[in-house]
C-alpha cells in the first residue's frame, strides 16, 4: 500500500473487498457475531451502520480543517453518538419489531471501531467526496460480510433466507447455528476461507512475475 492518500475510487473499492472491514480488518466483531442469526437483523444492522458511517464521515470531513489534534477523538465520538441516537430513534419509530429484536446492539454501533477508524484514517484527512466514497465502500463491505455470515447461519439454522423457506422439508434445522457458537464457527470458517483464497492468489501472482 502506498503512503499517498488514496483517491475516492480507490477508497470505495478498498472498502468492499481489499480492505473489507470484517474479513481484512477484523473490525466490528460485536454486530458480526451478535446479529447475524438471520438476514433481516443483519441487513438492518448493516443499514444502520451505513447511515452512521456515511453521515459521520461527511460531518468529520467538512470540519477537518477545524479539528484540534487533542480534541479530535472527542469530536468523532460526539458526532457518531448523535447519528447513532438518531438511527436508534428512527428504527424505534418505523421498524419497531426490528428495533426490539436488535435491542442494545443499535446503541452499541457507537463503539463499532469501524466508524471511528474511518473518521480517523480517511474523513479527518480527505475531502468530502473521498469521505463519502470511503463511507459507502466500507458500508458495502460491512454489509457484504454480515450478509455472508447471516446467509450461512440462517439457511443452516432455520432453513430460511430473509424469512423465506429455502431448504427442503426434511432438513433438520441446526439449532447451534442460530445460537452464539454458530456465529463463532461460521466467522472462523469464513475467515479461514478468505485467507486461503488470498494466499492462493498471492502465490499465483508471485509465480507469474
Amino acid at each position: 500500500m502506498t503512503r499517498g492518500e488514496p483517491t475516492a475510487l480507490e477508497r470505495f473499492i478498498n472498502g468492499i473487498l481489499p480492505e473489507n472491514p470484517v474479513y481484512r480488518q477484523l473490525l466490528g466483531m460485536c454486530p458480526v457475531l451478535a446479529v447475524t442469526n438471520g438476514m433481516k437483523p443483519a441487513m438492518t444492522m448493516a443499514g444502520a451502520t451505513a447511515f452512521v458511517l456515511i453521515l459521520a464521515n461527511i460531518m468529520i470531513s467538512l470540519m477537518r480543517g477545524l479539528l484540534k489534534p487533542h480534541l479530535r477523538i472527542l469530536v468523532f465520538t460526539l458526532t457518531i453518538a448523535t447519528f447513532v441516537t438518531i438511527a436508534d430513534r428512527l428504527l424505534a419509530a418505523y421498524m419497531y419489531e426490528m428495533s426490539k429484536q436488535l435491542g442494545p446492539y443499535v446503541p452499541l454501533i457507537i463503539v463499532n471501531c469501524l466508524i471511528i477508524s474511518r473518521c480517523e484514517i480517511c474523513a479527518s484527512k480527505q475531502d468530502v467526496r473521498v469521505a463519502v466514497a470511503d463511507g459507502v465502500g466500507m458500508s458495502l463491505g460491512f454489509a457484504l460480510a454480515l450478509a455472508s455470515i447471516a446467509t450461512v447461519r440462517e439457511i443452516l439454522g432455520s432453513g430460511t433466507w430473509l424469512g423465506l423457506p429455502v431448504m427442503p422439508g426434511f432438513w433438520p434445522n441446526w439449532g447451534i447455528m442460530v445460537l452464539p457458537p454458530g456465529a463463532f464457527l461460521t466467522l472462523g470458517l469464513l475467515l479461514g476461507m478468505v485467507e486461503w483464497v488470498n494466499q492462493a492468489r498471492a502465490k499465483k501472482a508471485g509465480k507469474r512475475e
Binding site: V75, T79, A92, Y94, P104, P107, P180
Partner: protein, 220 residues
Amino acid sequence: MAEAPKSRNFIGQAWLVILLALLYGGALATVHTALSARIAENKRNETYSVIPILVEGADQSMTAEVSVEGQNGKELTVYRVLDSGGHHRGWVLPAAGQGFADQIEILIGLDAEVSTIAGLYVLGQKETPGLGDYITGEGFRNRFRGKPTDRPLVVVKSDPKANNEILALTGATISSESVSGIVNRALANLKGPIRQLAPGGGEEQDEASSPADRQGETGP
C-alpha cells in the same frame, strides 16, 4: 507539537466541541419531537397485543384506558382490562425505572382485586445481552406471577421461601432488582388509587393506604 504548550484560551480550544454539542443537542431534540409520538404509538400497540398474556381472559377490544392520579400526585394512564362479556378482569399498569444499562419499561398485570400480580411483560430494555436481557424471558417474568401486592417484593439469590420473594437471575442481580424495584414503586404509587376505581372496591379504600404502601414508597 510546536504550539504554545498551555493555552489559557479555553474557548479558543474548545469552541468546536461546544458548538457541536449545541448543534447535535438541537438535532436530537428535533428528532425526538418528531418521532416520540410515533414511538409511543408503537408501544401502545404492543401493550394492547400483550394484554391477554398479562391478564387471563382479557379481551383487547374491551380494554379501556383510565387516567389515574398516583400517590405521588402525577396523572398516569393505566389499562382497565375486561373480558369479552364486559366483566372486570384486572388491570395493566405501565411502569419504568433505571436498569443496569438504560431505562427498563415494563407492564404489570394485576388481578381484578388488585391483590396479586397476574403477569409481567418487558416493553423496553437495554440490559447486558446474555445476562440482564433474560429479564424479558418467560422464565423470569413468570417468577412474578401470583405474587401478593400487599408486601414489597424482595429479590433473593437462593430458593424463595416467603411468597413475596423473587429469585434473582444468575449474573444479573442488578437487572433483577431493578425490575422488582419498578414493580414495588409502581404498586405503592398506584395500588390505592386503582382500588378506588375498581367496581365494588370502594370499601377497600382505607386498607389500600396501609403501611405497606408507604413502606414501598420509601424503598430504593
